[in-house]
Amino acid sequence: MLSNSAKPTLLRKILSTPTGAIGMALLTTVILLALFASVLFPEGPFEMVGAPFRPPFGEYLFGTDMLGRDIAAGIAYGARISLLVGAVATLVIVLLGTVVGGLAGYYGGWIDTAAMRVTEFFQTIPTFIGAIVIVAVLGPTLPNIIGAIAVVSWAPLARLVRAEVRSVKGREFVEACLSLGMGDMRILVVQILPNVLSTIVVAGSLMVATAILFEAGLSFLGLGDPNIMTWGFMIGAGRSAIRTAWWMVTIPGIAVLLTVLAINLIGDALNEALNPRAKR
Amino acid sequence: MNASKPILDVRGLRTEFRKSRKTWFPVVNDVDFHVSAGETLAIVGESGCGKSMLAHSLLQLLPKRISRLAAGDIWLEGRNIAKLSEEQMRAVRGKDISMVFQEPMTSLNPLMKVGQQIAESIIEHEGCSHDEARRRSVALMDLVGIPEPAVRAGQYPFELSGGMRQRIVIAIALACRPKVLIADEPTTALDVTIQAQVLELIDRLKTEIGMGVILITHDLGVVAEWAQRVMVMYAGRKVEEADVETFFSGPKHPYSAALLASVPRPDAIINGGRVEPLTEITGTVPPMDQLGPGCSFADRCERSADICLAQQPQIEMLSNGARVACLRAGENA
């Protein structure tokens, strides 16, 4: 719950660091690309627009693939999916992690023990293989992919929130609230969570990056939704032509790299802005 | 009063911190003092008065990137250590001047056996063999009153109590029989009964080794009981210096006087009846980077006059032997 007056200063703080400014610029570009994909490339990413295997920086900015599809169009439409998966998966992860971690950290006791056992389970299963199994069994649709990513990645966030909630709960202002007779939910939501928020925001921002990498990995292995153009799928498809058309794997890879980099940079800047002790 | 020649003689010491790229501000300003062998000098003041900065400056332990020794000399037995390079300074630290810190819980390496942490210092400065160093560290642990020193030497800090850890820190400091021991709030983190034990230990070893002790503290009771001379600091400057008897018989600087009067005295009440409110010092300590030209205590001082805001008072010797930096100290004190 950042107070209204803090919001513009937070943005300014992020932009004032070189990492934050670069990150913001990159991310804004990717967002604009995603927003205007259908304006820039009205024919869509699957349309064959010209001859196959055209190298980049010629007739087509990023060249064409083996079926003569415009790679630039794929990049633009792929941006939509990457951002969508990153955002929605993170939202689910943050919600799940905050609720489980918050309740476990606040109440302790058997709730905590049970919650920690469950998170331990989710941290032990090999996350990516777990996601592969889930998508393979349930079918490669976008909601399944997002769900799989969320299911295998929420546990670390829950543990982080739990640890933070526990430490804030041990502070004396919470005891002061208890001694005034304040209710549990009010203490947890109004008093404790705002103090944990900066941690959640920072961890969440990094989670977006991880989710994008996850999705790219899944669709690279052929577990993407076949009706959707994604960066991972493009790289996977380009593998067979790696000897002749290097750009087919290189360019979408750079797209993933820059997007993830942008989010990580913003995450670092957020961490510095919200968490001054991490500075120095 | 003390006839012997001082071991450590500090003149006009000024330590500055970086405010911005090019500007600096003083945290220790124009401080003079000296310590003789077998003597304890207490440096007193509230948090932020610069007493800890002063201690760290003597050993040049402040981070070089944000701080500097801007002026002054630190004479250690005729050698000016303020001008030494980092490499030369290393030979002084732990050998000629040692330091004991406030937090016994964090000032030892958690992953190293305590005996080894003592031996390390001996090996560094005297280049003796590991066996010899180990033997001497056990002897040192015995000296600082640790029971079963040979066993304890093989333990890790987390296995020892706070008082025991502080004894280890003292043993490290004394490993090479230093000429000067700086004790920076050595007992603040300890319980009262343990505090007395540790201070008693420092006092005993001071005589045994013949070193000078600089005791940095905020506790005036500790000063009265364990020091021979006292120096009061405020906003980075020395405001009063006197021997303990003189000082506690009636401090002359308005700040020292107010500080002493603000300490609760249970025995006085019990033996004298009515409970008077304690003396309060109004206002707050000014930030060190925003000091005006005059006396930095002026705006909190009951006796301040216009001149106090304009002119920096210099240290002057009063008739009772106290040295005080106050323009009005001589008037009606």
Binding site: Q123, V249 | R65, E103, N109
Partner: protein, 331 residues
């Protein structure tokens, strides 16, 4: 002391047992969550499923029996490590997995050593040389690497070092037709290992570098470092004897947590480099829709994580006496 140590590690291993049981349960129900007939799902959507195979599956999973009985049977089979039969490969799944385990262990082990080793080294350098050009270069490289998808790194390495420069082979674990034992074989495998191991360790090296730098900076700011300086120790002595060991602890913790993620990474890297380990097996299973095999791999890799975590715990006790002597990480 040795006893306390062993007891602690044993405790950590036993701790993993309920987790493995939970994975068994999840495995069992996951198949039944799938849309449609479980046998159909297990057989895959391709028309390749013969009537014989379908019968086998129904028999193995006892799909016509009540759910609890199915579960009991499933558990019984797992206890003797019977993971079922893969018709695509025409072999027992447990045999298949065991065959591939060594290759994955080799890849993972090499990558872990590389990433932890270089991560600690680079992170420590960046911290000790804080605010210098060297530190900035290390940290910029780390943050870029940290954003790079594993499979893409693999493909780029192939393009540059295998296809263009021709220094390393593009895929496989050994040259076909070359000797299969002795020193020459080892060299051949090592030669094949270079690119996949680097590709897999890249991301984690960046992660550990960032973590190590932060941890080292924090350690260098602690009181006991000040004590060490006040003793007159040299800065190299302070860094090596005092700071490094303390700073490594959070990196080790993270390395333990990352084992499961790294296994996922090895699926990708193995499939990129055709490295015949568990990951490639999983990739093949995915392509042939051999779900039963996939679940077997999932189960085994979970056990692998539990075991690796136990190894990390042992290392942990060696580094930190507080755990060794108190028998708990939260002493």
């Amino acid at each position: 002391m040795w006893f306390a140590n062993a007891k602690y590690v044993l405790g950590r291993v036993l701790h993993g047992i309920p987790i493995i049981l939970a994975i068994v349960v999840v495995n069992f129900f996951l198949i039944r969550l799938a849309p449609g007939d479980a046998a159909q799902v297990l057989a895959g959507e391709s028309g390749a499923a013969t009537a014989e195979y379908m019968r086998q599956i129904r028999e193995q999973f006892g799909l016509d029996q009540p759910l609890w009985l199915q579960f009991v049977n499933y558990m019984k089979n797992l206890l003797v490590f019977d993971l079922g039969f893969s018709f695509r490969h025409n072999r027992e799944i447990s045999e298949l997995i065991m065959d591939r385990l060594g290759a994955t262990a080799l890849l993972m082990g090499t990558s872990m050593v590389l990433s932890i080793g270089f991560g600690i080294l680079l992170g420590a350098i960046a911290a000790v040389r804080d605010r210098t050009l060297l530190s900035h270069v290390i940290m910029i490289l780390a943050i870029v690497t940290y954003a790079t998808p594993l499979f893409w790194v693999g493909l780029m390495l192939i393009i540059v070092f295998a296809l263009n420069l021709g220094w390393f082979p593009t895929s496989g674990i050994a040259t076909i037709g070359a000797p299969v034992d002795g020193f020459e074989y080892a060299i051949d495998v090592a030669h094949h290992l270079v690119l996949p191991a680097i590709a897999l360790s890249f991301f984690y090296m960046a992660l550990y570098t960032r973590l190590m730098r932060a941890s080292m900076l924090e350690t260098l700011g602690q009181d006991f470092i000040k004590t060490a300086r006040a003793k007159g120790l040299s800065s190299s002595n302070i860094v090596f004897r005092h700071a490094l060991r303390n700073a490594i602890i959070p990196v080790l913790t993270m390395a333990g947590v990352q084992v499961s993620a790294m296994l996922g990474g090895s699926v990708i890297i193995e499939s990129v480099f055709g490295w015949p380990g568990l990951g490639l097996l999983a990739y093949e299973a995915l392509f042939s829709r051999d779900l039963n095999l996939l679940l077997g791999i999932f189960f085994l890799s979970s056990i692998l994580v539990v075991l690796t975590n136990a190894i990390v715990d042992v290392i942990y006790t060696l580094v930190d006496p507080r755990i060794r002597l108190n028998g708990g990480r939260h002493a």
